[in-house]
């Protein structure tokens, strides 16, 4: 099959970008979208031109590195998959496919289709962890956790941090990402002790990074390659409000400071 890709080319964050059309010829329909880009890039390289920069790593849908906006939807036309798991059979022969980078103020473009998602890392640094003594692995079932809670936490933990939620949101809000990362830990006994500080800090970092505000339209959840539910956003709102109210009445030890 043959397709034309109308792809965004931009030298760096400072320069103006533009669309460029490239032909991708003699494709196997079972090639992934990224493999199709590889084919185009090989042609570009052979012709002595600058290949299209795109982010990719594991190519099996778990690392969250690939990030294209394909025909106006993050990760392409299928649901529940990342760009690397989007196959050319999802398109028609002769299609013109528009490929853009994820666009958000908090995700500045590095080059072409690659954007800088380190704002997510900053959010994780501010609370997406548990403080625990490391060492030998603890006994597997030392802490009993109910099946429902474990399942919910797993649903949230499925987040691969790709940023499709931000890309799909009309407001570039990162609420689905933050709610999945905070929710996963807040649900489990290991995460409970730092729950309040976690939600307060992660939301504060999210706000500082310049993400927009959630307007409860759930485009994020629809675009999420791991189909994470907007229910976690509701939980984050609830946990954040509770933590804010509690922080007013919380007693602090006299040795503080």
């Amino acid at each position: 099959m043959n397709v034309t890709i109308r792809v965004w080319r931009q030298k760096n964050d400072q320069s103006e970008g533009r669309f460029e059309d490239h032909e991708a010829k003699d494709l196997n329909p079972n090639m992934s979208f990224l493999e199709m880009l590889d084919v185009v890039n090989e042609d570009l390289t052979n012709a002595g031109k600058d290949p299209i920069a795109f982010a990719h790593d594991c190519r099996e849908g778990i690392c969250g590195t690939c990030s294209c906006m394909i025909n106006g939807k993050p990760h392409g036309p299928e649901s529940g998959v990342a760009t690397c798991q989007t196959y050319m059979r999802s398109f028609q022969d002769g299609d013109v496919i528009v490929v853009e980078p994820f666009r958000a103020k908090a995700f500045p473009i590095i080059k072409d289709l690659v954007c800088d998602r380190s704002a997510f890392d900053s959010i994780m640094h501010s609370g997406g962890f548990i403080s625990i003594r490391t060492g030998s692995a603890p006994d597997a079932n030392a802490i009993p956790i109910g099946k429902e809670v474990a399942d919910m936490a797993m649903d949230a933990a499925a987040c691969i941090g790709c940023g499709a939620c931000v890309a799909a949101c009309k407001n570039s809000s990162a609420m689905l990402f933050v709610s999945a990362k905070a929710g996963q830990l807040n649900l489990l006994p290991q995460g409970k002790p730092e729950k309040d500080a976690r939600v307060l800090n992660m939301v504060a970092t999210m706000d500082e990074a310049g993400f927009g505000n959630c307007t409860n339209q759930y485009e994020c959840s629809a675009a999420c390659p791991k189909e994470i539910s907007e229910e976690f956003i509701s939980k984050l709102n609830r946990d954040y409000l509770a933590a804010s109210v509690k922080s007013v009445f919380k007693a602090v030890p006299s040795t503080m400071g």
Partner: protein, 253 residues
Amino acid sequence: MNILQVLFKTSIGKKVLMAVTGLIMVGFIVGHLIGNLQLFAPPEKINAYAHFLEGLGPALWAIRAFLLLTLALHVWMAIQLTLENKAARPKDYTSQQTLRASYASRTMRLSGFIVLAFLIYHLLHFTVRIEGFGTYPHTTLLDGTPVRDVHSMMVFGFQNVWISLFYIISVGLLSWHLSHGLVSMFQTIGLQSRAWSNFLSKLAVLFSILYFLGNAAIPGAVLAGVVKIENPEVAGYVCPAKCAVCEAKKAKT
């Protein structure tokens, strides 16, 4: 961080303000609709009700001030959040699909803005009572108390097709606004879950439809001639053939 900082400075806090002020206003409009539906009863009913409200004096002003503050906060937060949201994506996509966002949710700003414009007009018309906007007659209750004739004021207003049309469109847009807003407020304050989100969105749509029908019934009934002016001193009054009440009133004057 104190609570005011949370409410006015953080993304979730601002949205909570949107939700809570929205909820307060939903409470108000439900009460307002129930009050207005008294138009279907004899004029004494709604006139006495309006007289009672005006008789609240300082309490009425306190309620009015509270509601205006609520509205101002709702609009102020909407403007702030919208500006932040625009700033969060300086360069827009060339093409972006809408995956599941409802049409109502994508037109909240437009519906909100038109409803706000209507509200200003509505207040000038029926609360401030600007001369020329309508007719503002007086009458007496059955016990002889002189009161404002709210019944005739409303009917006279809605006998104008354009006013009725503006009113129906505005309450339609308000209902449209609520079909997203009502569900949204539950999500924002963290009271939405898989278990009942479907039920909740259906309930919100049902509420919005009922609210619209209740409101549309008022100008509808006036235009259809079901509710008529019953004060002989107001233009548009048509005397029925045999009417004990109006004969008595005529005899008095």
